[in-house]
Structure formats: structure tokens, C-alpha cells
């Protein structure tokens, strides 16, 4: 087997997304083409890569000792932290990458972006990089082959524990040789950092509210159904229409009235009142935001539009909604319960906004044609929302985006995130046809832009009749199931008490270890015992299903400690002291979480069964 075949086999076994794109790849589509790429022997019998690009020759490794060179280069970075996240521009011949692999630790993640397919091809043919290709802690993207993987991986790997520990580096010379690709690389890193920060801040902001919503919405379980149950009742072969709250909706009311019965209309929560006032009743309303202001949702007992929601959606909105509730995503806390009852837990990615969530819902429901209405993602003059509403976060959060007419248009940072989200989705779902029915607003690449009138005549040709009565009769849980739900919640209440006891024990252990850092009062055996006890308590706490609920509170109240807990220094004693102090704070947050949850959990247990039971 040749080196190339061996490497390719590794890609086939371990990286099927890349493999599927690589096998159909034509080198004529590559960017950053080279005039020459070759390897030469070094003085210590290793290999150095030499390339010629734009008539200039570059040597990418030392001619003397490339491994030593890589080691000295890597010594400038701090790999001491746990959970290192390293991103590198340039694979080269793997020498620098292997040095990082040796230093990054067992929990490290390495994301490689190689801008030159010619280099990658040469390396695949001449270097055995199977150790790199088979390592599942390494992501490799080659420009023009599997570009999306870089973007997607960054958004998946950054979390609260490693966001502060990122190492971003460039293979020597790559920035000089491929400057445009390098700019792209840094921009992707910046965007992914902002996106991760947004997600973390959302978790912190909503921490306690998630808990309140999940527990207070349990009383609705008896009457809810899941998205999969709705899917069976919906017509096929008609498009979905998502009505968001952009200012353009006001100009499209007459068309929306004509759409009724010819497209399944999903309205985001914020636009429902406006639509009802204008005489348009959608087929579904969607709500996501755990803290959505109640003033944005109509309190109309006569309106029974079914609501598609998360278990974490705002309970205050659930309380003033009078129709059927359809769960599209269950909380991690209740997921095990669904499985125990033989049901597939509903799962839809939360994404960034209720409109993007609605898009995911439409994809889950099997719609192939999706028409976006009111997804302006830009200001219309000073207006941000339909009904002449203005909402500003301050001009520092405003920016310019490309509009559907090719001109730049004023938008916001969060709207830009939504544009990127849609574009990512359209890359992942090439079979979905998305029509963006607007004449102004931010351009979403991959959509077909056309006026709503034209979209109706092109895609909404047949009418359908959807039975709300059949939907009302669908219930995920029967009486026996609800009894088991109550048992599950009751056992969670018992577990809370045990968690508090273990957390208190752990705090005592931390106190002893902290004191020892200052006074050396404990023997090595005693220290090891205390550390083992901490580990056991930690494992026990994290294994309890109720911890999946507590986690949100703990993250919200100890985010700063969680961001720093994996950061280490040269000073061993200082590392220990920091770790014990942070661990103590986190265990205290666990106790606070348990105390916070207990009364609402008790209330939920009382309310599981319907009142006529």
C-alpha cells in the first residue's frame, strides 16, 4: 500500500465528511496554486518542505533540524492549561502540528486550516500522516475541499471552560505566502469567538430562568404533544411560511391573507399580536426565549393557535397561551425520562433566534420549500420591527451588511449572526429550497429572493385543510406515564438532598486542602484521600439527572471560576490553591442551586397530574 493510499484510508475511516468531498475533488478548483512543491532531506535525515508560489521560493522547515525548530517555535505558547484549544493556520508537512500534538495534553483539541490543496496533496503522497488523520482530537480543513468543517468545528468546540485557554498560531511563513487566506482564518476565529461568547452570555443570563421555566412548564406535560406527532398530521407538498417580525411584514399583509390555507404559516411569537390585529391567523406560533417579555405575546383566550415551544420557553407566556402546546425540544433534565417511557425525546437545535428555530422546526417537519417573510435582518430607516417599532442596542452594536439589492444596509451584530446561521444551514441542507420574500433587507446567500406575491403563485398552488381537533387529541403522555413522571421528579427531590450533603463534605475537604497549602499540615496520604473524596463526590453529583438542571444555575453563578478552572501556571502550589478555592466556590454554587430548585420542584410534583385526577 502506498503512503497516499494509507493516508486516504485513514481519512475514509475517520473523517467521512472530508473523504466524500476529497474523492470528488478536482485540483483545478483549488486556490493558492503552487508552481512547485517538493521535499528535501535535512542534515538530520528528516524532511523539509520547499514550495514555489508567485515565482518566490519558500522553505517551510529548517534544513538542519526541523524537529528542534518546531520545538523551539512551540515553546512560546503556554500549553500548561487543561482543555487546550489550539488553532493553527497551516498543516505544512506535519512537523509543527506533531509538536503541538505532543504538548497539548490528552484533553486538548487542535483545529488545522490548510489553505493550499497542493501542499496537502504533496504531503498525502510523501508523508505518513496517519497519526494526525486518525486522531479524533484534531480537525483538518483544506481550503476548497472541506471549508465548512473549519467554520462548523470552531462553533462546536469552544465552551465556557476553554474560551480563555485558546492558542491561535500560524505555521512559519504561511502568513507571508497566503495572506488572503490568513485574513479569512483570523476572521473566522474572531467570529467564532463572538458567537461562543454570545452563547455563554446567554447561558449566564438565562441560568436561573431556564430552571424556573422547565419546572413551571411541567404542569403542561399532560396535554402536550411532540413535533414528531404533529408531523403525521401536516400536509405534504405545500410550503412552510415563516413570518418573522421585521418591518417589511406590514407591507405584506394582503399577501399573507392570500397565503392562508395554501402554505402552513408559522409566526414567531413577537409578530402574533400584529398578525391577529390585521386579520391573519397563522397555523402555528413559535416561542423560544426563556425571558420573552409577556407584553410581546397576546393574552387572548379566544385565540387557540397551537404553540411550538421548548420546555425552557417562558412559563409566563405558556400561562397566557390557550391553545395546544407542541414541544420541539425537551430539556436535558427530562430527556432520560422520555427514554425511560419509550419515547424519543424531541430535539431541535435552539439556534440564535426564534425565527431560526422556526426554520429548524420546518426542516424537522419535512418541508422542502420554505418561504421567509419579515426576516429583514436590517433596519428599515429607524424601524427594527413590524408595527413601526424601534429597538436599539446602541450604535456600537450596529454594522453594515450586504442588502438584497447589492447595496450595504444598516444592521446589527445579532442579526448578522442570524444571516450566518441561515447560510450555514443552507450549506448543510442543499435540498431545502428557501425563498426570501422581501424587497429590502440583508441578503442571505443561498436563498431565492422574490416578492411574496410571486412566491405565492410559484409555490402555493394548492390548498390544504389542517385539523386542529386531531392535534388537540394527541398527547405524548398517558395517565400511567404521568405517574412515572411524578416518580421521576420525586426521586430527583431526594437526590437533591444527597447532592447538598456531598457538596458540603467537599467544601470541608477543600478547606482542609486550602489550609494545607498555607501550613503543610497534611501528609501526602491524607492529601490524596481528600482529593479522591472530592473526585468521588464530583462524579456522584454529575451523574444525577437533576444535576442537568442544576448545571444551568452553577454556570450562571460561577461562570468566571469555570472559565479559569483549567488555567494553570508554573507555580505548582499556586495552581493547587487556585484549584481548591475555585472548586469550593463551585460546590457552594451547587448548594445554592439545590436550594433554589427545591421549592419549584416540589410545586411541579404537585402539578404533574391533571387537576381532574
Amino acid at each position: 500500500m502506498s503512503i497516499y493510499e494509507k493516508n486516504l484510508e485513514c481519512i475514509e475511516k475517520h473523517r467521512d465528511y472530508m473523504y466524500n468531498l476529497l474523492k470528488d475533488f478536482n485540483m483545478s478548483e483549488a486556490s493558492n496554486r503552487l508552481e512547485e512543491v517538493k521535499s528535501v532531506d535535512t542534515k538530520d535525515k528528516e524532511k523539509a518542505l520547499i514550495i514555489k508560489h508567485n515565482s518566490t521560493q519558500y522553505r517551510l522547515n529548517s534544513l538542519y533540524r526541523p524537529l528542534d525548530e518546531a520545538d523551539r517555535w512551540a515553546s512560546q505558547f503556554d500549553f500548561q492549561n487543561i482543555d487546550n484549544l489550539i488553532t493553527i493556520f497551516g498543516l505544512g508537512n506535519g512537523t509543527f502540528v506533531r509538536t503541538i500534538m505532543d504538548k497539548m495534553g490528552p484533553n486538548g483539541i487542535l483545529v488545522i486550516y490548510e489553505p493550499c490543496a497542493d501542499i496537502f496533496q504533496h504531503v498525502m503522497e510523501n508523508y505518513d500522516i496517519s497519526d494526525i488523520l486518525t486522531n479524533n482530537r484534531i480537525s483538518i480543513t483544506v481550503e476548497k475541499i472541506n471549508d465548512f468543517e473549519f467554520h462548523n468545528t470552531l462553533r462546536g468546540v469552544i465552551n465556557i471552560k476553554n474560551i480563555s485557554n485558546q492558542i491561535m498560531c500560524v505555521h512559519p511563513q504561511y502568513d507571508k505566502i497566503f495572506p488572503e487566506s490568513c485574513v479569512f482564518f483570523w476572521k473566522e476565529l474572531k467570529d467564532s469567538y463572538y458567537s461562543a461568547r454570545l452563547n455563554i452570555n446567554t447561558e449566564i443570563f438565562f441560568g436561573k430562568r431556564f430552571i424556573d421555566n422547565i419546572l413551571k412548564n411541567i404542569k403542561y406535560l399532560a396535554d402536550t404533544c411532540m413535533l414528531s406527532e404533529l408531523k403525521e398530521l401536516l400536509p405534504k407538498d405545500v410550503p412552510a411560511m415563516i413570518v418573522a417580525a421585521g418591518p417589511s411584514v406590514g407591507r405584506q399583509i394582503e399577501e399573507l391573507k392570500r397565503a392562508k390555507g395554501r402554505a402552513v404559516i408559522f409566526a414567531v411569537d413577537r409578530i402574533l399580536e400584529f398578525l391577529l390585529d390585521e386579520g391573519v391567523e397563522p397555523d402555528f406560533v413559535v416561542s423560544l426565549d426563556p425571558k420573552k417579555p409577556v407584553k410581546y405575546f397576546p393574552n387572548r383566550p379566544e385565540c387557540n393557535v397551537p404553540l411550538i415551544c421548548f420546555q425552557e420557553s417562558n412559563y409566563e407566556i405558556m400561562d397566557i397561551h390557550y391553545g395546544k402546546k407542541i414541544i420541539c425540544n425537551c430539556s436535558t433534565f427530562l430527556r432520560e425520562l422520555y427514554q425511560k417511557l419509550g419515547k424519543v425525546p424531541p430535539k431541535t437545535s435552539s439556534s440564535a433566534s426564534v425565527a431560526t428555530l422556526t426554520f429548524s422546526v420546518c426542516v424537522e417537519l419535512g418541508f422542502k420549500d420554505i418561504i421567509l417573510v419579515g426576516q429583514d435582518l436590517a433596519y428599515d430607516g429607524e424601524r427594527s420591527h413590524a408595527g413601526n417599532k424601534e429597538e436599539h442596542y446602541g450604535t456600537t452594536k450596529d454594522l453594515m451588511l450586504e442588502g438584497v439589492d447589492g447595496k450595504m444596509i444598516r444592521s446589527r451584530y445579532d442579526w448578522k449572526e442570524f444571516v450566518v446561521w441561515y447560510q450555514d444551514m443552507l450549506t448543510l441542507l442543499p435540498d431545502i429550497n428557501v425563498i426570501d420574500a422581501k424587497e429590502k433587507g440583508a441578503k442571505i446567500k443561498g436563498t431565492t429572493v422574490m416578492p411574496l406575491r410571486e412566491a405565492l403563485s410559484s409555490y402555493c398552488k394548492q390548498s390544504f385543510d389542517f385539523s386542529r381537533r386531531q392535534l388537540e387529541e394527541r398527547k405524548t403522555f398517558n395517565r400511567e406515564d404521568l405517574i412515572k413522571v411524578r416518580e421521576y421528579l420525586s426521586s430527583s427531590l431526594v437526590a437533591l438532598g444527597k447532592i447538598v450533603r456531598r457538596a458540603k463534605q467537599s467544601i470541608k475537604s477543600c478547606d482542609l486542602l486550602i489550609e494545607n497549602c498555607n501550613s503543610n499540615s497534611l501528609s501526602d496520604v491524607e492529601i490524596q484521600d481528600l482529593i479522591k473524596k472530592l473526585g468521588r463526590n464530583n462524579k456522584y453529583i454529575e451523574k444525577q439527572p437533576i444535576y442537568l438542571l442544576m448545571d444551568k444555575f452553577v454556570i450562571a453563578s460561577s461562570a468566571q471560576y469555570l472559565m479559569e478552572i483549567n488555567r494553570l501556571t508554573d507555580d505548582y502550589m499556586k495552581n493547587n490553591l487556585n484549584t481548591y478555592e475555585k472548586a469550593k466556590s463551585i460546590f457552594q454554587a451547587v448548594i445554592d442551586a439545590a436550594e433554589y430548585i427545591k421549592p419549584t420542584l416540589e410545586e411541579a410534583i404537585e402539578q404533574v397530574m391533571p387537576t381532574n385526577d
Binding site: R59, S62, L63, Y64, R65, E69, R72, W73, Q76, P172
Partner: protein, 102 residues
Amino acid sequence: MQELSIVVSEMVDAIDRTTTLFYQQKVDEGYESLYLTLGIITQGMNCLFRYKELNDKFVLDEAQLNQILSQAMAAIEEKDTILLSDILQYELKEFLQNIVID
């Protein structure tokens, strides 16, 4: 002899500082350091030659030294900081360390 060891040690430390910066792609700082290192190497060479004049038994392979320094100058002219670092690290530094050992 002790004075020679100190001189060589200073040259070796200067080489280490400069080459580390270049290997880490800190090019601007590397050139600043190189300027100082070249000064230290020049003074160090002067000491070596003076020592040789005073000690018949001291062997200094001037031809090899000239060749190494020429290669280093060529690398500087080519702006090949990695090749320069390799020459300083694996040719010149080893040459100087061997003087002390011998």
C-alpha cells in the same frame, strides 16, 4: 582559559537568545537581538584571536570559522532567518563550544 570560557559562554547565550526569537518567528525582535549578538560575537572573536597570539598551543581553525561566518552573512543577506539561526545554533555555537572542550 577561564576568561576564554566566559567569552564563549557570552557568545553562546547571545546566540541562544537571538535564535530563539527567530525560531519563534519574532522577526523584528530577532533582528534587534541579532544586532547586539553580532557585537558580542565580534568582541568574542577579537578575544579568541588575541588569545591565539599569546598561546601557541591554542588551535583555532580559522578557515572553518570563516566559512561559518560567511554562510551566516549569506543567510542574513537572503533574509533567511531560520537558516541563519541554524548556522548560528548548529555550526557556530558547536564550533565555539568545541574550543572550550579542547
